[in-house]
């Protein structure tokens, strides 16, 4: 929506497709805030923010893109404020900021205070602000439309998408001089996921099926505290207020793993510690498969006043009132660092012609579905709302430039919709096929068991076979309802195709990377290996081939931050 706004305000004709009403996008779930070194509470500057982001990425982030993002952070936040986003305020009227993990002053010094928020509704406010503004600028919305496949011509240029109008069941071709994907994440490939059901990685799968590689798919951030069995995220704020984790013996085990930061150590550290506890038999419950988050010692008053939302979630989904009893939690898939490779102008780049980073003409990607890469191997909290704003705007500007040069539609190939129609025809004619939700369950279980927080050589190897079997079964899914109007079974079958692409890319990329870096933790290769692995993975769907390309270590104007051990 940020990119659409840029285009509509420049007088271009813009169609925004969304599976659900745009303000019900998953961004609505973001509560923590958006990072920008405004320095309203403690001294801060973009260069420190850049350092934190590079370090947080475990040096896999591209430093040109990171500099670009951190430099523009203030501007995009003030722009949102100008659009009417009701940021929380300090007494002096400036935008209020709160501290978040991984934020430091002076290149690794004291805690910085960098995240701007609208109470616990930052994402909600952002979506509504941008939606209203787009309506005013005459952006045309196609609500409950699902893009199915990318259309490329014989030169590889992107000419638009085929899409399904969910209400009528019609498949249409949307021809465009520029096509931008902002389709969000795909953490529904895991059984334990904080993501909403719509996050099925559609954009990645469409790109992969059209021959565009997927970058760094082995890197998924697991949030330490998702509600056991349901996945809903319990914010770090609970541990910030003094809550802590217990194993089945009632031991506060984080003291052993991170003596200083304890329960507030970074997400990957806490998630790994929890997984180790469970693996060593210290998990809680009948299946010894989760841990407990204790906060009753904070007292009913503090919990009710400062963590009311958390209490409601615990009661509803864990049947535990945290005023009296601990919340069962488990590390839960949360954010996808990988995605469609782009440069910092939002242009999709791939090694499909002569160089390793050739621009795919007419194709742009932004947000969680893209890999710019500013998050590298590990994203810092509140950096992704910043990512979607900065690169949404940048991609909008780039499209405006590119369209000045390409003022006419290119010729649409005769088979433009064949790929999508073929998949639908297969689904309609399938006999004695597989059940969509069963195959989906098998996919999620396979990913959870074989490619979770900790990765083991033998499990990954078996995982590649198992996920191939899932992919095979997914090719034969059958749906009973063959009608057109609002056929949600068909939509879910198409989403499963997309989950499969994302899952296979993840498993194959993870098996190949024999080091531990950021969120990718190998049991057999516990250390980062910069000599061999300071490079981005590229996965090609058609033959499951892997290729690699160098990390961009050179920023735009400042000196490079060379890789160092990442300690907090």
């Amino acid at each position: 929506m940020r990119a659409a706004l840029q285009l509509s305000e420049a007088g271009l004709k813009v169609a925004v497709l969304s599976k659900v009403f745009p303000t019900r996008s998953h961004t609505v779930a973001a509560q923590g805030g958006i990072a920008a070194a405004l320095g309203n509470v403690t001294e801060d500057n973009w260069h420190w923010h850049m350092y934190d982001t590079v370090k947080g990425s475990d040096y896999l982030g591209d430093q040109d893109a990171i500099e670009f993002m951190c430099r523009q952070a203030g501007e995009v936040v003030y722009e949102l404020e100008h659009y009417g986003m009701p940021f929380d305020r300090l007494e002096n009227g400036k935008i209020y900021q709160r501290p978040f993990g991984g934020q430091s002053q002076n290149f690794g010094g004291a805690q910085a205070t960098r995240s701007c928020a609208v109470a616990d509704r930052t994402g909600h406010a952002m979506l509504h602000t941008l939606y209203q503004r787009n309506v005013r600028a005459n952006t045309q919305f196609f609500v409950e439309w699902m893009a199915l496949d990318l259309i490329r011509d014989e030169h590889g240029d992107v000419l638009g998408v085929s899409a399904l109008d969910i209400e009528t069941g019609e498949v249409m071709i949307l021809q465009a001089r520029a096509t931008l994907f902002a389709t969000g994440g795909g953490a529904r490939i895991f059984s334990a996921s904080t993501n909403a059901f719509i996050n099925t990685g559609d954009g990645l799968a469409m790109a992969a099926r059209a021959g565009v590689p997927l970058q760094d798919m082995e890197f998924w951030q697991f949030h330490p505290t998702g509600v056991y069995g349901a996945g809903i995220l319990i914010s770090e704020a609970v541990r910030g207020e003094g809550g802590y984790l217990l194993n089945k013996d009632g031991e506060r085990f984080m003291e052993r793993y991170a003596p200083h930061a304890k329960d507030l150590a970074s997400r990957d550290v806490v998630s790994r510690a929890m997984t180790t506890e469970i693996k060593e038999g210290h998990g809680c419950g009948r299946d010894a498969d989760h841990l407990l988050l204790k906060l009753d010692h904070l007292g009913a008053d503090v919990i009710k006043a400062r963590l009311p939302g958390i209490r409601e979630i615990a009661i509803k989904f864990a049947h535990a009132d945290p005023v009296r009893e601990p919340i069962p939690v488990v590390p839960t898939a949360h954010y996808m660092m990988g995605g469609i490779p782009t440069n910092f102008h939002g242009q999709v780049v791939a090694p499909y012609k002569t160089g390793p980073e050739e621009v795919v003409q007419g194709f742009y990607a932004v947000g969680e579905c893209a890999c710019v890469s500013v998050h590298g191997a590990n994203r810092l909290g509140t950096n992704s709302l910043l990512d979607i704003l900065v690169f949404g705007r940048a991609a909008g500007n780039q499209i405006i430039e590119d369209l000045k040069r390409n003022s006419h539609h290119k010729h649409l190939p005769g088979d433009a919709a064949d790929k999508a129609l073929g998949r639908l025809a297969r689904l309609d004619s399938q006999k004695d096929g597989e059940n969509v939700s069963q195959v989906g369950d098998m996919l999620r279980k396979t990913m959870q068991t074989h490619c979770g927080v900790f990765r083991f050589a033998d499990l990954l190897k078996q995982g590649v076979d198992k996920i191939s079997e899932v992919a095979q079964r997914a090719r034969n899914t059958e749906i009973r309802d063959k009608s057109r109007v609002f056929n949600t079974a068909r939509v879910e079958a198409l989403e499963l195709d997309n989950l499969v692409e994302v899952a296979v890319a993840t498993m194959v990329s993870a098996q190949a990377r024999t080091e531990s870096r950021g969120a990718h933790a190998r049991d057999d290769f516990p250390h980062r290996d910069d000599d061999k692995w300071l490079k981005h993975t590229l996965y090609f769907s058609e033959d499951r081939r892997l290729d690699y390309k160098p990390v961009r270590l050179k920023p735009l104007t400042v000196e490079s931050f060379p890789p160092k051990a990442r300690t907090y």
Binding site: V20, R24, H128, A196, A230, I232, I313, F486, T488
Partner: protein
């Protein structure tokens, strides 16, 4: 005709907590709703995610909620 399927798709939300509660509602209660109940449910589905979620978890006797009973109550009890 496909009222149920339409409602089922509109239960797809940005908040996972709503996805889960609304799916449970579809499985457990939707089939028992009368015409008025279906209208109430559709009205509720039109609320923004964060507002709908607060209506479900905060069981205050807000006057604005009166017209949405008994469906809101069913959602709260899930």
């Amino acid at each position: 005709m496909k009222e149920r399927e339409r409602a089922r798709w509109r239960c797809r939300r940005g908040l996972l907590e709503l996805d889960i509660v609304l799916q449970r509602f579809m499985d457990k209660h939707y089939a028992t709703l009368d015409e008025a109940g279906i209208r109430q449910f559709e009205t509720l589905l039109d609320f923004p995610d964060t507002d709908l979620w607060h209506m479900i978890v905060q069981k205050d006797e807000d006057e604005g909620k009166a017209g949405l009973q008994p469906v809101l109550h069913l959602l709260q009890s899930i």
